[in-house]
């Protein structure tokens, strides 16, 4: 068992979320918003999607030393061993049987021929690719799909039979049905993809012949880490400073404004480059502690999150300061003051809940821009380590091949589809959460 820094933080975050969830679950005022989220189809479907992303991310966050190769691998790697090890020489298109570039091949009779060679793994079981390929793919896809579908249906029956009578109405509601339909779809399609991956490269291969599907699912963890850990660093700073500046005004406000104006006027790329450089120098000086490539890459990822968090809190802080300035003059805040409510309680009970909608919106928007920022930073080589799988690195690699004729489109498309699904699901879910926690919107569908 090897615990990387980001692994520890991810599980810590998960633990905190669970504790918070259990604590809030018992509260009276949480009942209605939670029910409203439960009733919303969009929320439940996006929650299922997010849940699957999180599951993959968590599986990828349990690292240990492999007995065979002495590498540090994750649970996901073990599970996807065939994908990881069955590489090709270079590019190959999705479901291809032949390589994407021509090379000199030695025929059985010893003659040399210039042409597209067969792939080492993709479709290697086919004897006559032209005739068999389509029917083989359809057959295998259906078989995989049926396996997944069977599993979900079996599980649902099991659940239904052990379920308490009082929970059955909820299972029958339209949102629960939508959620289960989404589970069905995701599991079945994934089963089909996984089954097919045993025989083909479903998303093709990249320049060094690595499976793009494997890269895309490995990138989920990186995306989640950058999105959540950065937010985790940024949020407390933005919320605490923003609310304090707006509520206390005076010298507190002056100091906080001074800090964020200064920070904002330093180009963030400069700060990020400096901090990444510092980490690299540190790791070079302490080589004994950072022997493995994966540990070094992880350290770099952590520092990237840290510095992105430090540079990105100012925008939200400004918004919160302005909103707090407005809220502190509201009469309910004055009424609380008159009732002798302590200032810290006023901040927590009256100000914080009434700025949460801004926090939620900007966090979700930031989440997507952070995932994208990682791609941009990879371009100037100050993003995640080049050996780390990330959508940014995938896009960066694919960028060079955009001019190629015929175009190599699959790396870019795979990164795009995965990012799109994650960011869209997060956005839709956050939308419903925001509406559910605004009591004025309760009851309007």
């Amino acid at each position: 068992m090897v615990i990387l820094w980001t692994d520890a933080l991810i599980f810590l975050l998960l633990g905190l979320m669970l504790v918070l969830g259990l604590y809030l679950h018992q509260k009276e005022y949480m009942k209605r918003p939670l029910q409203q989220i439960g009733r919303s189809k969009v929320a439940m479907v996006s929650l299922v999607v997010l849940f699957f992303f999180m599951l993959v991310g968590l599986l990828d966050s349990v690292h240990f030393k492999s007995a065979k190769s002495n590498d540090i691998v994750s649970l996901l790697d073990v599970w996807a061993t065939p994908l990881r090890e069955q590489g090709e020489k270079t590019y190959s298109a999705p479901f291809a049987v032949y390589l994407y570039s021509k090379e000199m091949m030695t025929q059985a009779d010893g003659t040399q021929q210039w042409g597209y060679p067969r792939l080492q793994f993709g479709g290697a079981h086919l004897t006559d690719p032209e005739a068999q390929q389509t029917s083989d793919i359809t057959e295998k896809a259906l078989y995989g799909f049926a396996q997944g579908a069977g599993l979900v249906i079996f599980f649902l029956f099991l659940l239904w039979s052990v379920l308490l009578e009082q929970h059955k109405p909820f299972m029958n509601s339209s949102s629960a049905k939508a959620a289960w339909a989404m589970v069905f779809l995701i599991v079945s399609v994934n089963y089909a993809l996984i089954y097919l991956s045993g025989y083909y490269h479903v998303f093709g291969t990249d320049k060094v012949g690595e499976d793009v599907f494997y890269q895309a699912i490995k990138s989920i963890r990186t995306g989640l880490v950058i999105g959540t850990l950065t937010t985790l660093i940024m949020l407390p700073m933005a919320i605490i400073f923003g609310i304090l500046a707006g509520f206390f005004r005076g010298w507190v406000d002056d100091v906080i404004q001074y800090v964020y104006t200064t920070l904002n006027s330093i180009p963030s790329v400069l700060l990020i480059a400096a901090s990444i450089l510092m980490v690299q120098v540190y790791m070079a000086n302490h080589e004994e502690a950072y022997t493995s490539v994966i540990v070094r890459a992880d350290m770099r990822l952590l520092f990237l999150c840290l510095i992105l968090g430090v540079t990105s809190w100012t925008g939200l802080c400004r918004l919160l300061r302005a909103e707090t300035l407005k809220l502190r003059e509201m009469e309910y805040v004055q009424a609380a003051q008159a009732l002798g409510v302590r200032r810290r309680v006023i901040l927590l009970r009256h100000i914080l809940p009434n700025v949460m909608h801004i926090v939620l919106i900007s966090v979700v928007l930031d989440f997507s821009s952070l995932v994208l920022a990682e791609a941009v930073l990879s371009y100037i080589n100050i993003g995640v380590d080049p050996t780390t799988y990330s959508w940014g690195n995938m896009i960066n690699g694919a960028r060079l091949e955009m001019a190629r004729e015929p175009i190599v489109w699959w790396s870019l498309s795979a990164a795009f589809v995965f990012m799109f699904a994650l960011v869209l699901a997060a956005n839709l879910f956050a939308d419903t959460v925001r509406d559910a926690f605004d009591p004025r919107r309760g009851g309007y569908e």
Binding site: Y29, Q334, A335, A336, A338, L339, G340, V341, P353, P439
Partner: protein, 540 residues
Amino acid sequence: MNKPVLTIEHLSVTFNQQQKVVDDISFEIFSGETFALVGESGSGKSITALSVLRLLPNNARLTAAAISLHGDNLLHRSEFELCKIRGSRIGMIFQDPMSSLNPVMTIGSQIEEVINLHFSLSRQATQQRVLELLQQVEIPEPEKRMKDYPHQLSGGQRQRVMIAIALAGEPDLLIADEPTTSLDVTIQAQILALLKTIQQQTNMALWLISHDLALVSNLADRVAVMQRGKIVETGITAEFFSHPQHPYTQKLLDALPSMQSCFTHNVEQKPPLLQVRDFSCHYPIRKGIFKRVVDYVKAVDGVSFDIQQGKTLALVGESGCGKTTLGKSLLNLIPASGGRVIINGIELSRLDGEELRQQRAHIQIVFQDPFSSMNPRMLVGDIVAEGIKALHPKISSDDRKARVALLLQQVGLPEDSALRYPHEFSGGQRQRICIARVLAVDPKLIVCDEPTSALDVSVQAQIIQLLKTLQQEKGVSYLFITHDLAVVAEVADEVAVMYQGKIIEHGPVAQVLSRPAQAYTKKLLAAVPVLQTENPKITA
């Protein structure tokens, strides 16, 4: 009378295909007459006006047999043609003069814009017309004023500019939607007199929309009362107020606070509860790079008064006279700059920090706006319990819940209120919640900052009744801040009149209202619109 200017036949407006806001109403307005449409908030009176101009929101559906202007059915007009009718043949004045004017354009150019829309005049002629209009609405020094921006004018002057804009198109019909609701009484009287004069000069029809029956009785020729989208009664003003037919109208008239009620108060003396001595609240005016203090705004300037136990002192004055500042700084919500506040023998003005927090319970405040005075994200039960939690943290949560339930019952709210959110309640009910919230900490004195001015008359009467009942049961004193002298007569034992940060007159309510000593008090009293059926003079 002559032919009608505006005829509305069987007008209905439905929101979201189910809520009927206006329900089959018909009436006519003749030229040269003032027609008043009265009703409580939500009765559909503004929607009726907007549907004539076809300015309804998108989710509204309008059905009508006819809406005719001089016999010309507006329903058959296209949107393009209606644009020409709006402003030129029908003018409209809205309630809030601040948000109806464009803050980055001078008032002259805003009036010019309307003139250019409807007439093609030369530049000089347009300027001349702007001057005439500003003279007509009696703005002093119109040549200088036309280059001013809206924020440089007072509220009353802004409303005058709005009237000038509405008159610029020389309309046959002027719709005034609550034209004076956001203005002070003395300004209100001036604006109404102006509207009347202009109407006589131009012989146009004036359609007045208001919730204020007393105001309407002074100004209108004919009155129609709306209730829940229906017109329940129409009549010539004099008959209407002397012999109201419909029970709803009678109820509205009964709910009006009466100036006569000031003679019924008990004049027995009680020991003083609150003593305020030489109290002031100054704001520094800072200028220059170093933010040097150049002068002070004296919002409250050396005020002294007492409030007796279980009695009510009314603080009256126009907006900006410092009455709200005084109320809030008594509670230390606004820092005071001098003077002493002694309640129950404790000198509040010398306490701060934790000591002050512990003594907070003595004075509480009820605000004017029942919408912004409660955290929209808290349950009503938690809102009421807030003071108990803060000042008596040792009380167990079951006892607290029981106490909240009792308080809600005392202010006349249903039992299940504690688990609902503030937005589910009406304005009057919200004000009841606010009262329950302050009662939770057993205050000796409640500062009521215009608690009823955002409410309808009938609801206002209920809240005043509730406050009186609570005073009898619990013996609390009130500092009742208001601009409405009729309400003062109803609730107060003593009156203090505030003008520019100072108390200029102070005495028992009957004395101040019937024999005012100061000229300013007399002016205030004269401006109050009084129902025309009553004897306008107060006699002892």
